[in-house]
Symmetry: D2
């Protein structure tokens, strides 16, 4: 017996991996983001299939149009798409849009040695049609990911003890604060806020917030003296992934006072350990209100 | 002002991307799975860091040991690890283990042309320590992914109409049931069950269930006549992703009668469209009880 | 005994995976390519290390500058970098630059349903300093990759024979030319020319050349009738990977008459078979002169 | 005018991405490698297509059979396949096989803390049929890749100088040899030998050779004291990628005296810089004879 298709609703039917150039107007410039979009709507049990060509047409209308008329942000494009998805699929009650894009900011250890550094922007939107009057509510998320550096505080202390046997002068009080050798490594950290449609978070601020939570940001151009400065900076702020994540969560809790307590925060940090072949990870998700309560304790 | 680390609890701290050979005893043979493990525990706000070396030691004890004493399944290894994680991290209340592995089954369009086909096994476990008496409860998931083939029913009908203009004989009633040209493509489909620790699902049955829901499974060895057979088979069962997913959900709802209604089912199907550069996807998640109710309607 | 470093020359020392926005002026518009650069120079045995910070500074100078002053093409940026690498590393005799970027062109099955389709641009440059007078010679490559569709001619014939048993009318002479069911799939094809510095090939023409060699190009927006048209188009031009590659090589040999015989052509095509879990591939590399001689036979 | 297919020969037509479990008998144990195979033969201009199903059948015969009768090594399987490819494709003059597999060795910083560490095995074979008497010659390659750690010697010296301003005691002669802070990171290094069919290289020795050339190997299980030991070990052997590669090439030149001068060596090392978002790479390729001559200077 063949199953009869129509019996089951489906949460998501859509197109994943649509690649598009999205042009965004930033305060100081216009940038084109090579963006990946995943879009979907739900499908009621009463309907056999989702009209997927509408999704491709919609993406072309909204995203291709930005070549001529840039949009304010990746998340505003997601919101517009999520809203239009429910217009174009009248049978659907929910629509979802996920987007990610590589993003460049001019950064450097010194102004005169700044250059484009690469980051990731993350955004999403979800629209829901109310059962009664059909009102559509849209929520969204805004996120960023930055690659930086962590230095391990634990190995620093054990290395100091271990080397003090061979180099007794290390025990001299004047060297107590001297940063010692430890393992350090690439760290990828991500911070995302789930928001109502009317709230705004500037993606560049998310990236700054992440970089401040790592032992050090990293840069493309480092002359010899710069390398030493960055290495010393990282070793003066040695951090476990737990430390990176808690500092990130702390800055998320206190650094965006305009956001209400109901905002949901998602954070993840991944250290690609130099002393292991595997990664060390910490993750947390919480309401901003709960984080603020913890922070105030 | 530096944030004080200890204020925030963290949901997950652990090791991701640990690669290990896991030896599993199957009914008819012993197989070694090259497995990826992600393991983590939570961290209370009262504790500065998670002792991560315990995770690596634990993985070595449980997984490396299977070279000598094989375990029954990937998910049983996950359960053992999740349980032990709470033993080794007494401060933790939850532990999570995610595992995936490439897996081979001898399959073919005919017995004499069978060979090893590759699939993916997915498993996870989560252990929770109760606040009061410290009792530990473990839940798990078992899943599989199979690559097969879908053929599009819509383009088949429009192509038939379109060709009938040029080839009027196509309108002859005797050809009405003849499968017509359409686009067909690789399809990756995944089915997962979230279970209590005591319940069992055979991974090979999940893979069979998936392959039955696709337009056709695919095989490495196909002689000329076999190719025609598979192509005809797929075109006689043309399916949208919506059809694949509903058939899969239907088979999930009815094909595992020993599982209680509380089991949670997750299903996803991805068609790597031959006529587009993007993928078409359908996803659903539901309690088995709800699926059974829909199925019985 | 520790090896003494200085004894060995090394062919390549450099930076791989530098991500940069490169702005290119096209005939009709300005586009920003999210580009991956790998740059390297050789290292003589007499010198301990390569001064790698110069590479990062150079990339910033040349690539970041294009935000203000766009360059004509990806390959012209590679040539400029390869030339400058030898300026900045006076001890080096060779420098190499490899670049790839996602690229978008407005294309469609009909003008009014065109939208941005994604392709890949490939470019490289290599500079060599002569032993005597230090003259620097630069060579370059220009390439493109396009995702399209192939339909299998062999399964089409065997399916026709097989179905004729069940549907005898299929043997009617009027249906002899009717395209029959077969497997079709995503196909990725790449064409690259190795050139001297003074020669030019327009990347858009490479992409057009590739798409003409596939059974059909693919597009994001296809309404119902369009799907049928594309499916019929692909089934009227069924092609093995061998056919795609030979047609591509043929078009390469005859379609760029301005290029001299000494140009080297590299071509690869990959069909992500719908009836198998593995890919089917064909590759060829040859001097344009040899291809032209074969073509003329 | 449609191109006529048959005019052009093609260098390679085959199957890429065939996944298979390959069972190998090692001196002390039997291991199953999850292996990726790419196989191809050339196609003369006189022949329209390559009979690809023969490749899949051949892979099944040779590789699937190892579940019952293990082969000595990955490269011996490649050689057997390359030889048989010419048997099964009588029109072909060359056949190529490329294989890679994840591989596990029990390793650790101390015997009692050893566990399975993951490496990559690389192997290939190429068979050529002579024009005259049809004699088939087979060549092969054997390679390995290991992830370890590098610490930068340059930043160590500049950090020492820089810190000495703040911590004058650092200038004390007794501390001159004390390892100082620097950036360290994951390093992936690969070594391959191109050999005639009769020569053998033990893959485990390649991996050992690589790990000796890095600043330190890395291990899954490290207790607190172990971390310090590994960090000190790496900082006592700070190495640029140039140093890693030259030491590797030196060990390749002198450590395999049984291999003749005609053997070709390929080496690559990639440091995933902790202070940058890009990687630093060094590569070299040379005849063993030339390396030995350089080494003896």
């Amino acid at each position: 017996m063949e199953p009869t298709s129509g019996r089951f609703e489906l949460h998501k039917v859509g197109l994943y991996g649509i690649r598009k150039p999205l042009t965004v107007r930033r305060p100081d410039r216009v940038v084109t983001l090579t963006t990946n979009f995943d879009v979907a709507v739900d499908l009621p049990s009463s309907r056999k299939g989702s009209d997927l060509s509408r999704n491709a047409i919609l993406l072309a209308e909204i995203v291709d149009e930005t070549a001529v008329r840039p949009v304010p942000s990746l998340e505003s494009a997601c919101v517009a798409i999520a809203r239009q998805l429910l217009e174009r699929h009248p049978y659907a009650r929910t629509a979802s849009v996920e987007a990610s894009a590589e993003y460049f900011l001019r950064r450097g250890i010194a102004e005169e040695r700044s250059s484009f550094e690469d980051y990731t922007l993350l955004a999403s939107a979800r629209s829901v049609r109310a059962d009664g009057d059909g009102t559509v509510t849209v929520s969204k998320s805004i996120g960023g990911e930055a690659v930086g550096m962590t230095a391990c505080p634990c190995a620093m202390e054990t290395a100091r003890e271990s080397l003090a046997g061979e180099f007794p002068l290390l025990r001299d009080p004047s060297l107590r604060e001297m940063p010692m050798i430890t393992h350090n490594q690439r760290n990828r950290t991500r911070l995302q806020f789930d928001l109502t449609e009317d709230l705004e978070v500037e993606a560049d601020r998310l990236i700054e917030t992440i970089e401040t939570a790592q032992s050090s940001p990293t840069f493309a151009i480092l002359k010899r003296g710069d390398e030493a400065r960055m290495v010393i900076q990282a070793h003066r702020h040695p951090k476990f992934v737990e430390d990176v994540l808690r500092d990130l969560v702390q800055r998320g809790a206190t650094g965006f006072p305009a956001l209400p307590d109901s905002v949901f925060v998602r954070a993840q940090t991944v250290s690609e350990e130099s002393i292991h072949k595997y990664n060390v990870v910490a993750e947390h998700q919480a309401r901003l209100g709960d984080l603020r309560a913890s922070s105030a304790r």
